[in-house]
Amino acid sequence: MKIGVVRFPGSSCEVDCLEAWRLVGEDPVMIWHQETSVKGFDLIVLPGGFSYGNYLRPGSIARYSPIMEDVIRFAKSGGLVWGISNGFQILTECGLLPGAFLRNVGLRYICAPQYLRVENSDLPFTNQYEKGRLIQIPISHGEGNYTIDDEGLKRLQDNNQIVFRYVNTDTSGNPNGSRDNIAGIVNKEGNVLGMMPHPERAVEEIIGGVDGKEMFLSVLKHWEGRSQGGA
């Protein structure tokens, strides 16, 4: 599978994303944001960090980086796009995913382990989880307070587009005020995923947990099935 991870000025999780893909046997490629084509790629990852210093609004300037025009075209033609944290913010700014982000309720930057519930396990990104499973994946953001209007929320709910919700376990509930406890969503077609938690930081026991690893395995499983079934 040909995987590209886009590096914007200010990205900070791109190397972790590359490393996570290597752990599951892939050989991903870094794509500089000034490039203009994602031709030949099977998956594009928009990593976390602080693209353009998060000036103006997180993701608002990265959304106009040269590479994004082709990423948008790729996504609209059915290509797999996975935005993590700042990548999720970029996906809402460019309109590939609905909604927007506000400062966390409480105004604190939160970097902590977080429990999530897998709400949709029928996706290229989540097929290795059982629906309803609780997983622990770290969050790290100051502006993760997901907001969307009533109609938009109803559409997400009706189309099963909510992929992860923040859940209460022992210590952690909704950490940032996100509407309907939303931690991650997909587009209606299911090929564009945005999530605030960082699965690339939960792929080895030594870094605190492995609950994120199944996401990477899910994508590979999906790709395997697709290339065997298709063509």
């Binding site: 608002s60 106009y64 809402t92 506000l102 400062r103 907001t147 969307i148 209007d149």
Partner: protein
């Protein structure tokens, strides 16, 4: 050249965590404050002398980059 003075504010329906924090602080300082909303102010100097053209450009700039229409409203004034 024309200068645009741009105001970007959160839509009324959107909660403003920063505004609420400032509001609570002012109330605890005993000021007769009902509410606070925090927005952004920007100045854009355009290489354009035609007011109509400048206005059109500013609407585009505001819609595309300076504000996010999902959560924010914008307004601007042009001055020579």
């Amino acid at each position: 050249m024309l200068k645009a003075r741009v105001k970007v504010t959160l839509k009324k329906s959107i909660l403003d965590p920063q505004g609420s924090a400032a509001e609570k602080a002012l109330k605890s300082m005993q000021y007769p404050v009902e509410s606070v909303r925090i927005g952004k102010f920007m100045e854009v100097v355009l290489n354009e002398d035609d007011k109509d053209k400048a206005e059109k450009i500013m609407h585009e700039i505001c819609q595309k980059l300076l504000s996010n229409p999902v959560i924010e409203d914008y307004s601007f004034e042009l001055e020579g």
